[in-house]
């Protein structure tokens, strides 16, 4: 499995999550989103960039409340909720946004 970006193939798992986090580039995110008919806006990038920063520090995607709080601080309190995040990432911020950000899929009872 893999995703082709500008002639280079990036390995992914069965569900399309990047196998090697370090290979990620913004173009990979754009290509993944395009495959799912999503145009990445500035708002999407705010979330994706936060996910990557958090992962860098904690080796895990942020919990939903950590994410909504951070986005609320950055973009204003009206956007610090999961309703806003689901508008951006209809398949769920935890899963869809993690995928575009090159993070592994959150697993468990979630």
């Amino acid at each position: 499995m893999g995703i082709e970006v500008n002639g280079k193939v990036f390995e992914t798992d069965e569900e399309g999550y990047l196998s090697n986090l370090n290979e990620w580039t913004p173009e990979v995110a754009t290509a993944m989103a395009k495959d799912e008919d999503v145009d990445l806006s500035e708002s999407h990038w705010q979330v994706i960039n936060f996910l990557r920063e958090y992962y860098e520090e904690y080796q895990i995607a942020p919990a939903v409340r950590v994410l909504t709080k951070a986005i609320g601080k950055k973009l204003g309190p009206d956007k610090g909720n999961s309703k806003y995040l689901y508008e951006l990432f209809p398949y769920g911020p935890g899963k869809q946004a993690c995928k575009y950000a090159g993070l592994p899929k959150p697993t468990g009872c979630v």
Partner: protein, 501 residues
């Protein structure tokens, strides 16, 4: 009008007309070698695997008398056929519990029964419903034993008390032993052993998340409610599903537990080492794996020196905790014998309510008309309190203590007859979305009925899987994802907090 009760008209079809092979295509992703090997299973399909299947089956029937009794005693009466939510939702006849079990039973017959061996030798195993193991059978096993959530509703109606879930667990254990495991369960179990929970949430991230919750609750309420982590000498160790830290509406339940602990004045802590209640070892039928996961709780309790263990809202955890914890990780003689070992958070809260230790402003939940989904493993695999049926009554009593509006769903869909959410027992994975959605149909129908007849707006549950599953699949049936809530979310919204020094 008649002087007797006229039956209510119901929607037809009540039992679907069968569609053969309707779900034969459904298979979860196979676990790759690293996930398999981390649990001590072969990385890929072993050589001579047909023989290995018989060997493992022989091992299991000798270890578990129940397994052999279940395989020998089915008389094909058909009582279970229309009891499975996956059959009702898919109409695939192989999702009738008897047919699912027979996928394994026919192989067992060919090797371990006199009639089966006799007719198999003559080349006519079908005379007695026997069949030798082959690749086609293995494919069907992989498909249909991952369309069973081990919820045991069928067992309630079986006149012989056959526990179909045990057959499904055995089938998965046999498949693991020949190198054919399910990615979802086995990857997660690897994370539990490496990091301590299903999510792979390491201690620093857990600490950061809990600190964030402390800030949030203090901002909301003005009261400093603590979320302690790894505190030695605390009275209570809370073991809760890691989804409670991570997802919605789970986290609102966790906030509820913290507020209850705060009001109780009893010290408590979460452990980063045993930061998972759910035990997926049960899903794959592996006693050794289940034991290894449960032992983490013992070690955490000893290391932290706690006196009591309380489990959060997690259905499968509660079955393992209530029914198996003593043999898996006991003896618990170092804990305080004056309290249940272990205790459920609903029992804990209910006890405080009984003793008038909590104050609620029920009007805080007046915007909700509640119903309650009994989680399968709580309803049929455990108990709460000291009376039969306590596992059904206590969560409802907690809800009613903090909500003014409550209506139950139809009786044949709750209590010990409850329908599984459709995502239990290792099915809660995106690669099984079709069976998850279809399996949720019976519950969605029951919910629709009370929504229309009683104005129900929200459904509460005490299982992380139920909550995640409903959040994801109810929208397919016209509901919204926020209609599913945690029981302790209702507690959290209504509880009146007092400031402590």
């Amino acid at each position: 009008m008649a002087d007797f009760e006229v039956p209510e008209l119901q929607e037809i079809p009540l039992v679907p007309h069968i569609k053969e092979g309707a779900m034969a295509h459904s298979q979860p992703y196979i676990a790759k070698a690293p996930f398999q090997e981390a649990l001590g299973f072969p990385g890929e399909l072993v050589e001579n695997w047909e023989e290995k299947v018989y060997e493992k089956m022989d091992d299991l029937r000798k270890r578990y008398r129940s397994f052999q009794v279940y395989l020998d005693s089915c008389v094909k009466c058909g009582a279970c056929t229309d009891k499975c939510h996956y059959f009702l939702g898919t109409a695939d006849p192989k999702n009738m519990p008897v047919a699912r079990q027979d996928l394994l039973r026919k192989v067992y017959r060919s090797k371990f029964t006199f009639a089966g061996k006799f007719w198999t030798k003559l080349g006519m195993p079908w005379m007695v419903g026997a069949q030798k193991m082959d690749k086609g059978v293995l494919d069907e096993w992989y498909s249909y034993f991952h369309q069973c959530s081990q919820c045991r509703r069928c067992s309630v109606y079986c006149p012989y008390g056959i526990d179909t879930a045990e057959i499904s667990m055995a089938a998965r254990e046999i498949m693991d032993s020949i190198g054919v495991g399910q990615k979802y369960c086995n990857e997660i179990l690897g994370k539990v052993f490496k990091i301590g929970n299903n999510l792979g949430l390491p201690q620093p991230a857990l600490l950061n998340t809990l600190e964030g919750l402390e800030e949030e609750v203090e901002e909301d309420t003005g009261v400093a409610v603590k979320f302690p982590l790894d505190v030695k000498g605390a009275d209570i160790l809370l073991v809760t599903p890691s989804a409670d830290f991570f997802a919605e509406p789970h986290v609102d339940g966790l906030i509820g537990y913290a507020k209850v602990f705060h009001e109780s004045g009893i010290s408590w802590t979460i452990s980063s080492y045993a930061s998972e209640a759910g035990n997926f070892g049960m899903f794959i039928g592996s006693y050794e794996t289940m034991r290894k996961a449960a032992q983490r709780i013992r070690k955490a309790a000893l290391d932290l020196g706690v006196k009591r263990i309380v489990f959060g809202e997690c259905g499968h955890a509660w079955r393992v905790a209530y029914s198996f914890l003593n043999t898996l990780a006991g003896p618990w003689d170092f804990l305080d014998p004056n309290y249940p070992v272990p205790q459920h958070i609903c029992e804990f809260t209910h006890d405080l309510i009984q003793r008038d230790k909590l104050t609620f402003d029920k009007s805080a939940n007046d915007h909700r008309v509640m119903t309650y989904h009994d989680s399968c493993n709580v309803a049929r695999g455990s108990r709460m309190g000291d009376k039969p049926g306590g596992q059904m009554e206590i969560p409802r009593a907690v809800i009613k203590a903090c909500c003014n509006n409550f209506h139950d769903m139809p009786p044949e869909t709750i209590g010990e007859a409850t329908f599984c959410c459709g995502g239990g027992g290792g099915i809660l994975t995106d690669d099984l979305m079709e069976i998850r959605v279809k399996g949720a149909q019976p519950r969605a129908e029951a919910l629709k009925q009370v929504t229309e007849n009683n104005g129900v707006t929200h459904m509460a549950a005490i299982c992380a899987i139920c909550k995640s599953q409903f959040t994801k699949v109810l929208p397919y049936y016209g509901f919204t994802m926020d209609q599913i809530v945690s029981v302790h979310q209702l507690v959290s919204d209504a509880i009146v907090l007092t400031k402590k020094d």
